[in-house]
Amino acid sequence: MDKGKAVIGSLGRRWAVDFSDNSTSRDILDPPGFSRASLDQDDSSLSRQKKDAESNWKAQKAWEVAQAPFKNLLMMGFMMWMAGSTVHLFSIGITFSALWQPISALQSVGKMFEPYKDSKVELLGPKLLFMALNLGGLALGVWKLNAMGLLPTHTSDWVSSLPPALEVEYSGGGLNFG
């Protein structure tokens, strides 16, 4: 986001004089021979050009951001492979971070693409890609969980805490008191 602002320029500088400012509330008079009307016309075509470039640039950046989780995905896959499939602190930590990252990223999709919000920029495509990649990451995490046997996908996971069934009848007894 910061990067984007710096490139845009106007906010990155300490001070600036805007020559294209043509508001009427000026206390300095225009120099003689200066025609404001012609300048205005020229200026508007210039700014349109500029805006086009900007939106192009924004769209490009949005795609870049959308593709960023892919690298993450590869990284995560490598880490998981390194961690192995037994349950211990390291592998659990990695798996949980692999699950958490996509989830938090998915939660902040809107924020992520806010700087590139523009009436001319189509953000749906990048957003969808971003979400797909993150969901892929999530799937990877879940797959890892399953590989470690931490997902309740077997009957045994559901019955292991089943209490014994109650019995209708009761029977006591034994030997007589000797």
């Binding site: 349950v87 046997g149 931490l150 997902l151 309740p152 996908t153 077997h154 009957t155 045994s156 996971d157 559901w158 019955v159 292991s160 805490s161 089943l162 209490p163 014994p164 069934a165 109650l166 019995e167 209708v168 009848e169 009761y170 029977s171 006591g172 007894g173 034994g174 030997l175 007589n176 008191f177």
Partner: protein
């Protein structure tokens, strides 16, 4: 998921924990051990020498012991086997303790100071008879001290020095019931009856054992047979109607007799007369009604009543304090006071000693008294008396004071239950318990030193002492972990004790007055103890109560007594003398609104009685009427029967608390091939965590968990005796697992060439039993696990996800289960006296088998060693699951003896109680000794260890906070400097 993680964690913990042992300095922290001897039968004082004064005793628990006369501590003690009953005890040669045991067939000499056995003689004989030990004080044969022993129909003369049999005389052919042996310098008189009226005396040469003479006298009437010899040459006996006293004089081998009507001696002779077995010179004591007559027998055989004593409790034998002075002690009751008097045999008017004693009412009557004298500084005689009380405790009385007492009733515990302690009240502050803050701090600093290994040897001693007598341990309130409880034990004498699990001290003890010896109740015995009322969690201010069942005699027809006790205070709330007999008590799994448990008492006339007798209990019973069953095992007939309630009893008056019952089923074992030797069922209060067992490949086996199953072990009739009496071909064991509601045999298997005794424990869905394999000449243990096949097809995971399964819905035994059993056997080194299994609060923790070995120790074996799924080469996955490779015998790891170096002499039973902490199980083992400890089969995974240093933790936290603060200040300062730059 969490459960899986937890279980995996548990698995890791348990894998690393095959041995659960303790360190040397942990001994006595959580365990305690108490030594007892039992009810004293014989006592001999040994006070002549200047050394340590002691009293030698033999007891009904077959213990021979030497006790310190000053404090009552045990100098040494030997526990003979259960069949080795001690018949006689005496001191020979002034240095040996002689005991005669096993029906007069084993004579042993023990060294007096240290109790080492000096010699042992086994005496042969052919027929059962009374056994008499006679250690003459002045008889010499070839300068050798003779010991005369009559046992198994033979008279033996044995050298006191090495136990050699010098001569023996067989009386088996003479059909005489020898009742007495009298020795004079050269002649030995052997007296007894042939039949009930033919009195015989044999005269033997004391040196050679030769027959000298045989005289006999036929009395014209029958006698009661209780012959008492009066030192000298006389005998007294009552006739069979107990109305005449017969005095028999055998002077010089001539026998003559006198008789006298009891009514001539006392006006009111309506009661039954009994000759008391106290041996007094020239005297005997006759008990009639509440009176005791002391009757002198003159030289002419005349009887003179010299003294009449009322309300007498006990007489001692005569004690000779000088050449011609013989004294005896007698105890009298007089309105709650006990009078002890010592009298001279020849001088009736004066008492040598008269003392008033205050004896705790809960100890009951005085049953036996033994006296001993000492010489005071002013040369007069002082006396000390050893008293055996009705509750089997032992008191030493001297100068009107109880010098020491021993609670030896605890040597004969018959049943155990537990009770929680009261909840801690608001008023009790911590400071009061911990003495003061300084002490507390000091203790923790010491502990910290220990942790940091900077403690000096003195500090270490102080730390150990601090740990051992931690006041926390024996507090009288409930603790968070549930380690502190009351062990409520019932002894054979009918006395109930509450022991604190922290240090084993007696919190209260009570002997119900209905279970005391009286006219109606001649031989009271304690039978069983049950939890009667356990208050609900919401009513913690109520006290729990306990039901004690006792009976007035050994037979089933004797009258029975119920007594209800308050578990906190030991007060008797109520007691009932039942009009019916008690053959069996069945605690039902139902409680009324006051949390009283319903009990069914079955009598011998096929009636069932409901207790408590309240309308509400009847309501509850009516509701569950058709679901109540019970079974009876008739071991003699080889039959097991199932019963159910039918209707109210039909008496003249309708008793709605009495029911008749019908027989539903019976299993009759073929008597020519099977004999019931053991039956075991599950404990009714056992908690099972899950019904499923997860296999390595995520497969599930459903355990067949039913409380209504019974394990029965039958032996071949020929092989039901001792090991070695049958050949392997004629020995076999047949094992049954029976459903006791329907009588269905769920599983049956045969062990060929094996025989009992069988000891078994049943828990969850498995049974472990111990027996002897005659072919292999080794003990063996087997395990059977029972699984329910009819549930096995519950495999659809979506059913579980949606909760659409019916695995937890109530089941009936009539729904036919398909049961499969897995079994495996292993050799085991020890013979076994008892088997138990650990029990925990939720049943999650893995289980250990507790085996009471023949060496009177308790060994803990992980249940995983007795797993039918063990194979020779388990796969990697199976190993991960904790399956141990199969071996032919169970390993005995010496660290897994939970009794460590101690022995529980005469071990009879083990009881396990869950603590509130899931990992821990409390174990109480009883026999002649008592032992208590806590064990954690999977280690204490749910709590910090006892020696965890809280001070260190606190210190670390304080240091961290301080460091945090300092670094924060420093960084603030640095920031400021940065900004000024």
């Amino acid at each position: 998921m969490a459960i899986r993680v937890f279980l995996t964690l548990l698995l890791f913990l348990s894998l690393s924990n095959i041995v659960s042992s303790i360190y040397e300095d942990q001994v006595g922290l959580m365990d305690w051990h108490q030594q007892y001897i039992g009810k004293v039968k014989h006592a001999v004082f040994h006070t002549q020498k200047t050394g340590r004064k002691r009293v030698l005793v033999s007891t009904e628990e077959n213990v021979v012991a030497s006790l310190d006369l000053r404090h009552g501590e045990i100098f040494w003690r030997h526990v003979l086997g259960t069949n080795d009953v001690v018949d006689g005890l005496d001191i020979a040669l002034g240095k040996y303790v002689i005991t005669l045991s096993s029906g007069g067939s084993i004579l042993r000499a023990w060294n007096l100071p240290d109790g080492q056995m000096v010699w042992e003689s086994s005496l042969q004989g052919s027929k059962e008879s009374k056994s008499i030990l006679n250690v003459p004080k002045n008889l010499k044969a070839d300068k050798d001290d003779l010991i005369l022993v009559f046992g198994k129909g033979c008279l033996h003369a044995i050298s006191g020095i090495d136990g050699e049999v010098l001569w023996r005389k067989d009386f088996a052919g003479e059909s005489i019931e020898v009742t007495d042996i009298i020795q004079s310098t050269e002649v030995i008189y052997v007296a007894g009856f042939v039949g009930s009226s033919n009195f015989n005396v044999y005269l033997l040469n004391a040196e050679t054992g030769e027959f000298l003479k045989n005289n006999h006298l036929v009395l014209p009437f029958r006698t009661s047979g209780e012959l008492l010899s009066i030192p000298g040459d006389k005998f007294v006996v009552l006739d069979s109607a107990r109305s005449k006293i017969v005095t028999i004089n055998i002077k010089n081998g001539d026998i003559n007799y006198n008789q006298k009507q009891i009514s001539d001696l006392i006006e009111d002779s309506s009661g039954q007369a009994v000759i008391l077995p106290s041996r007094l010179p020239g005297l005997f004591a006759l008990k009639i009604n509440s009176w005791v007559l002391l009757i002198k027998v003159t030289n002419e055989g005349e009887l003179v009543v010299v003294h009449k004593i009322d309300n007498t409790a006990a007489f001692s034998n005569a004690l000779s304090i000088s050449e011609d002075q013989h004294v005896f002690a007698c105890v009298q009751y007089e309105d709650n006071k006990v009078h002890l008097s010592v009298k001279d045999v020849n001088d009736w008017n004066s008492d040598l000693l008269k003392e008033n004693l205050v004896i705790d009412h809960q100890r009951g009557n005085i049953e036996k008294i033994f006296i001993n004298n000492y010489v005071r500084t002013d040369r007069s005689h002082g006396f000390r008396a050893l008293m055996v009380m009705e509750d089997h405790s032992l008191l030493l009385v001297q100068q009107g004071e109880i010098v020491w007492s021993r609670e030896d009733g605890l040597a004969s515990v018959v049943d155990v239950t537990t009770s929680e302690l009261p909840v801690e009240k608001e008023g009790v502050s911590v400071a009061k318990v911990e003495q003061n803050l300084f002490e507390w701090l000091k203790g923790h600093v010491l502990k910290l030193k220990g942790t940091l290994m900077i403690a000096s040897p003195e500090d270490k001693v102080a730390i150990q002492k601090l740990r051992l007598r931690s006041s926390e341990k024996s507090k009288m309130t409930r603790d968070h972990n549930g380690f502190r409880k009351l062990l409520i034990v019932l002894t054979r004498a009918g006395k109930v004790f509450a022991l604190h699990t922290g240090d084993g001290h007696v919190v209260w003890s009570i002997m119900s007055h209905t279970l005391r010896k009286s006219e109606e109740c001649e031989h009271p015995v304690g039978l069983n103890i049950y939890q009667w009322q356990v208050p609900h969690h919401h009513a913690l201010d109520e006290n729990p109560s306990i039901l004690v069942i006792g009976r007035c005699g050994p037979s089933l027809t004797a009258p029975t007594v119920l007594s209800f006790l308050d578990a906190y205070t030991g007060k008797e709330l109520n007691s009932l003398s039942l009009a019916h007999t008690v053959a069996r008590v069945i605690p039902l799994p139902y409680t009324d609104s006051t949390e009283q448990r319903l009990h069914l008492i079955i009598d011998i006339n096929k009636h069932a009685y409901l207790y408590p007798k309240t309308p509400e209990a009847i309501e509850i019973l009516k509701r569950e009427f058709s679901n109540i069953y019970w079974y009876s095992v008739e071991a003699d007939n080889g039959v097991i029967r199932g019963h159910a309630l039918k209707s109210n009893c039909i008496h003249e008056v309708v008793d709605e608390y009495c029911f008749v019952f019908r027989d539903l089923w019976s299993i009759v074992f073929p008597s020519e091939s099977e004999k019931i030797i053991a039956t075991v069922s599950r404990k009714s209060n056992e908690v099972v965590h899950t019904q499923a067992k997860v296999m390595t490949d995520h497969d599930v086996m459903y355990k067949y968990i039913s409380k209504n199953i019974l394990f029965v072990a039958n032996a071949a009739p020929k092989a039901s005796g001792e090991i070695g009496t049958a050949t392997p071909e004629e020995a076999w064991l047949v094992i049954y697992i029976i459903d006791t509601v329907t009588g269905r045999i769920l599983h049956r298997m045969i062990h060929h060439g094996c025989q009992g005794p069988v000891h078994a424990v049943f828990s969850e869905n498995w049974v472990v039993y111990h027996y002897f394999n005659l072919r292999a000449h080794r003990n063996e243990m087997s395990v059977i696990e029972v699984y329910d096949q009819s549930r096995a097809d519950n495999k659809d995971i979506w059913k579980f996800v949606l909760g659409k399964h019916n695995l937890t819905s109530p089941i009936s035994s009539y729904y036919r289960p398909e049961v499969s059993a897995k079994s495996q056997s292993y050799f085991f080194t020890h013979s076994v006296k008892a088997i138990e299994v650990t029990s925990t609060a939720k049943g999650i923790t893995s289980k250990h088998l507790l085996i009471g070995t023949i060496g009177d120790q308790v060994l803990a074996i992980d249940k995983r060693f007795l797993d039918p799924r063990r194979t020779l080469n388990p796969s990697q996955a199976e190993k991960e699951e904790g399956i141990i490779p199969l071996s032919d015998s169970l390993p005995i790891i010496s660290q897994s003896y939970i009794t460590h170096s101690l022995k529980i002499e005469g071990l009879r039973g083990i009881v396990t109680v869950p603590a509130k902490l899931e990992s821990t199980s409390l174990v109480f083992a009883y026999g002649v000794d008592l032992f208590f400890t806590q064990i954690a089969p999977s280690k204490t995974y749910d709590s910090l260890t006892e020696d965890f240093s809280y001070a260190l933790l606190l210190l670390t936290i304080v240091a961290l906070v301080a460091a945090l603060f300092v670094t924060w200040v420093l960084s603030e300062r640095k920031d400021l400097q940065e900004k000024w730059r």
